[in-house]
Subunit: 304 residues, 2 copies
């Protein structure tokens, strides 16, 4: 068995945090759940867990956002402008890095899940993927060469403005953009439109036509970035399994043969559901920790 | 003076090729132009130039496309499905690499220009940028950490489908997508719409409203990738200098404050014209050669 490094991974979520001490999905030593309350209280609880753990050689954090992932910025490692009370401007990565003195990786929760699905999940073995989550919001993470694709900030491609389904002129639900992707297809957007939760809408509800069309536009855009060899789509809205064939068809129709590569044409294996479930977040944090360790050592991160 | 490696750069264009022997923009030893005719003839003429040159330690090629830049693919380094007679399926990088036995970089002409503008041009000193060319077609190249952003293939974001300018339902000019970005704003698309070349349309011609709106949608999407610290926009259509303020305004209006970073808010320095002119292509090839060399040696590519 390959022995990867032991890493403390933290998924910092809006309602709960998951701390995991692991080398990989088949080598998890402990998992601890902590409610996300005020920053001081929550971070102290995380530190109490990490204080008790020994032997980890790196820390990874996959956080709700927006977060600053720009290493050139003064606020690197912070949660930035979240509406979540008390959390805006909170330093996460710097605090833990200083306390434990080990390499500390930090990125968005979406990118974390993308990294985990690329390493151990539904896109295992592929270095270049996209991961989309359609739930309370719409997130899209891109991984190229096994690493997060970013620069100034992390992807916010859930807020692109899609062309509309013919005849649909609903104003949408995004406070910034109205009918951007998130404003059309996120769970709360669908609920605002139909007056009840999305999961209560049957497969033949007309709302799904517009949802599938808009998500097809997101996939069209993701394919045209040139990056993904596979696109993994998760989140509560995608639990409506009838969506997958409709979204794949919408993507194919929109591209209209433009990217003539078999990877994309084999659409059932190109657009897939995730496979790690609730472990994608904390395992993504483990990958972020492993990559921070590898960056320090000038090596690459291997895992069991 | 820093001495960078001497590199043979080749910009392979649809009508002409430019071969350059250089260490950087201030250290160009020779430039040779060759008409692009049939592949065998054109490649032999390039080889005649390189045979005569001595001392170059790497080759870089920035080619018209589509090209295969996937190192895992059997057709890596080839031009793939171009309609240009005789060129589909032509091996470029492999042929030159075998003949000269030096590290050989290969990418699209758009990515080449992006690399050159990031290293020496209008985005000098920035590792994370986007480069957009609006001319015969629309190309968009992304650079992150100083390297091309890609995976399965190169960016084709010039073919995203923008939401339309209110009241505009022209069918567009792209044979694949109709009213995608290229189908609305490329030079031939504008000409098809107004019946004469784009550069003959005065600044108050109504066609520009839709062009600026569509380009604003492309910039909206590029910003949301999270990558660019600056966006460089060139190509013949952007020679209409009145477009810059309109495109910047369209981007700002569309984002509506969503990415609250000063880099993006300072829009006059965020969206800029290129500065290398016709040298961007061949100098981009020099960067590609330098990066191939650095990859072999496990170093980084430094330049004068």
């Amino acid at each position: 068995m390959t022995e990867g490094p032991l890493i403390a991974g933290i998924e910092l979520g809006g309602t709960k945090c998951i701390c995991i001490l692991a080398r990989g999905p088949d080598a998890i030593e402990e998992t601890v759940r902590i409610p996300t309350t005020r920053p001081a209280e929550t971070l102290a609880a995380i530190e109490a867990v990490l204080d008790r753990w020994s032997g980890f050689v790196a820390i990874g954090i996959a956080s709700f956002g927006p977060v600053s992932i720009d290493r050139h910025a003064a606020d690197y490692g912070h949660i930035t402008s979240t509406p979540k009370p008390g959390w805006a401007g909170t330093d996460i990565a710097g605090r833990l890095q200083r306390r434990y003195g080990v390499p500390t990786g930090f990125h968005s929760d979406v990118v974390g899940a993308a990294l985990a699905e690329a390493r151990w999940g539904a896109a295992k073995g592929l270095a270049d993927i996209a991961y989309v989550t359609v739930g309370t919001g719409v997130g899209a993470g891109l991984i190229a060469g096994g690493r997060p694709v970013d620069g100034l900030t992390h992807s916010e491609l859930g807020h692109i403005r899609p062309v509309r389904f013919p005849g649909d002129d609903w104003i949408g639900h995004c406070p910034y953009h109205g009918a951007c992707l998130e404003g059309l297809v996120a769970g709360p957007s669908i609920a605002a439109r139909i007056g009840h939760p999305a999961h209560e809408a049957p497969a033949d509800h007309p709302v799904w036509d517009g949802v599938a069309h808009a998500l097809g536009q997101l996939l069209h855009t993701l394919v045209l970035t040139g990056i993904p060899r596979r696109i993994v789509m998760g989140g509560g809205v995608m639990d409506a399994s009838h969506l997958f064939p409709r979204v794949r068809a919408a993507m194919t129709r929109s591209l209209n043969g433009y990217i003539a590569l078999p990877d994309v044409a084999l659409v059932d294996s190109y657009v897939v559901a995730p496979s790690l479930g609730g472990n994608a977040g904390p395992l993504g944090a483990v990958v972020l920790g492993g990559q921070a360790l590898a960056d320090r050592d000038g090596t690459s991160f291997t895992t069991p």
